[in-house]
Amino acid sequence: MSTMTVVESIRRTLDEEMARDERVIVLGEDVGQSGGVFRATDGLQAKYGKSRVFDMPVSEAGIIGTSIGLAASGLIPVVEMQFLGFTQQAFHQVGNQLARMRYRTRGSLTMPVTIRAPYGGGVRTPELHSDAFEALFAHSPGLRLIAPATAADARGMLAAAIRDPDPVFMLEPLRGYRLVRDEVPDGDHVVPFGKARIARAGRDVTLIAWSAMVQVALEAAKLAAEEGTDVEVIDLRSLVPLDTDTIRDAVKQTGRVVIVQESPLSGGFASEVAASVANDAFLYLKAPVCRVSGYDTPYPVPHLEDHYIPDAQRVLRGIRSTLNF
């Protein structure tokens, strides 16, 4: 075990995967000499050379589209999108092209492409650098969508993504990059997709979160404990595939669910989770499913973002409302 931050764990995994399989290449904006704006690829070009780590033109659709061809040629591209917001510039290449290439060709072209993108706000970035639109990607069949919250999961899930024969989109908790630090297993560590993690056990209420919101949920659980409420926290970590079984079992125990997401309320991924609760555990519910969420506004400017992003107090209010229903 070693203790490290999320960004360190990502860097280490990229390094190990590149060492393990020489087909693995890294490409993106500023990923080479500069090591990426968050330094997630720092040192890789120096170690593996300019024929495996590529500084690409500022060209999001081009980067994803080119990766599709690179994958077809026999390579395993790991793409860094500088910020999730700018992946919109390449959305058609992700959703319409990459995600459905296997389907379109009945399996003759497969796409072992991993896309990594920092996601979410809370670090006072300029406009469009914080937007959290995971639901867009969750709605693209053929694409895996993962959102680890810890350094250990970032390592295990990124390794799984790179080794997966299908395209995987990994949302990385931007504000957790350096803030979140935990024990990361040594040796080969792979976290399979579709298995949620119980981040904290509890009997009274189930909190469901992913990515940076897991920390917020854990804080809220602590506050609730002071009020005598025993809160369980589930870290989904994989949105597609979604571990509906763990969600169902948790709701059967507690009967009360609060889902926390950073993105706008309407059409967000929390709605998908709420629907799965309604479908699988309706008769166990003691209160309506509560969503604590960003608002249906564009992501606000830095001075106001703290009011937008759910914090522990807002989650606590959600917990109280389900308890007092």
Binding site: P57, G65, S67, G69, H92, R102, R106, L109, P241
Partner: protein, 361 residues
């Protein structure tokens, strides 16, 4: 090559390279192509012309879905395909390049199944060098660049050919793909078939540029304009571009100025927007007519051979239609096939439920 023709397209007069003029006379240097390959090229072009007629008829009878005819563009499609090396090269098509796809080994019957909307129409030849046809305009251009770049990085042989229309050249993907191809000097040949129309939008309303080819200058590699109704001009330009790519000198953009004789697709009515003089010009510039005249002048074509050729085309088409008629309807459950390599529980449950529903029906 000599420059001669004045293109009928756009507000600017443009000189384009030509080898074989509208009257079937040689006006430039003939690329070295063996006689039997010349006959193969001609036959494939004829197959395209006859397939258009048959496919449109099948579409009218409700047997095929929307069909994109390519009459008028046979020289551009076939000329560029024949200039490539089928043993090592790749082809990344848009939706109108059925003839080049046949050249890369796609069976005609598979193509018909595809147009009919049958899942078996997605099967690609086992050589792995033909990509599926692309529906989203220009979205395949970065794929072609990636494929070519990947070959180069791994020291694998081969050059990638990709085709698209003038409309597609206004998409962001076109520009991003060409830019990346230039930066990484990848072995790719871009062939734009500029027929002057993107459905009903004429070139001069698509772009203020004089040509598509001139845009290559902005990406640091050559762009050339050729008479796209002249199979030799297209062949020569693509062969040169291919040789450049193979020598490690990077990409080339070729603009083949061609004419579309019919509609954009079976869902389109060109009489609403195409002026009569465009139609007349397209007839005058017919790529098949001039090729036939030249072949005959060389003693490589005559009435007997013409008869045999028509018979061959019709046999190919009839056989494909028979195979297509004989293909059973697909098992509905195949909609769940090939989504991902390892379907997750949710998808498996959806599939199970679907199966139960089908069994009850």
């Amino acid at each position: 090559m000599k420059t001669g023709t004045v293109s009928p397209i756009g507000r600017h007069e443009l000189k384009v390279s030509q080898v074989l003029n509208e009257s079937g006379e040689l006006v430039g240097e003939l690329p070295g192509i063996a006689d039997d390959r010349l006959a193969d090229m001609f036959r494939l072009m004829c197959l395209g012309r006859r397939l258009d007629q048959k496919a449109i008829a099948l579409q009218r009878r409700g047997k095929l879905g929307t069909y994109p005819p390519l009459s008028g563009q046979e020289a551009a499609s076939v000329g560029s395909a024949f200039a490539m090396n089928l043993d090592i090269d790749y082809f990344v098509p848009q939706y109108r390049e059925q003839l080049a796809m046949f050249h890369w080994g796609l069976p005609l019957s598979t193509y018909l199944l595809n147009r009919m909307g049958h899942p078996a129409g997605a099967d690609l030849p086992a050589n792995g060098r033909l990509w599926p046809q692309q529906v989203a305009l220009a979205a395949h251009l970065p794929h072609a660049v990636g494929q070519a770049w990947g070959l180069q990085l791994q020291g694998k042989p081969g050059v990638v050919l990709t085709q698209f229309g003038d409309g597609a050249s206004n998409e962001g993907d076109f520009h991003e793909a060409l830019n990346i191809a230039g930066v990484h000097n990848v072995p790719v040949v871009f062939v734009c078939q500029n027929n002057g129309w993107a459905i009903s939008i004429p070139w001069e309303k698509q772009s203020a540029a004089t040509s598509v080819a001139q845009r290559a200058a902005g990406y640091g590699f050559p762009g050339v304009t050729v008479d796209g109704n002249d199979v030799f001009a297209v062949y020569a330009a693509v062969a040169q571009a291919r040789a450049r790519a193979e020598r490690g000198e990077g990409p080339t953009l070729i603009e083949a100025r061609c004419t579309r004789m019919g509609a954009h697709s079976t869902a389109d009515d060109p009489t609403r927007y195409v002026p009569a003089d465009y139609v007349a010009e397209a007839e005058r510039r017919d790529p098949i007519k001039r090729f036939r005249i030249w072949l005959a002048s060389r003693g490589l074509w005559d009435d007997d051979r013409e008869q045999l050729c028509i018979q061959w085309c019709d046999e190919q088409i009839e056989e494909a239609v028979r195979a297509f008629d004989a293909t059973p309807r697909p098992d509905p459950e195949t909609i769940f096939d090939h989504v991902v390599a390892h379907p997750d529980l949710r998808l498996r449950r959806q599939r199970d439920e679907f199966r139960k529903m089908q069994e009850k029906l």
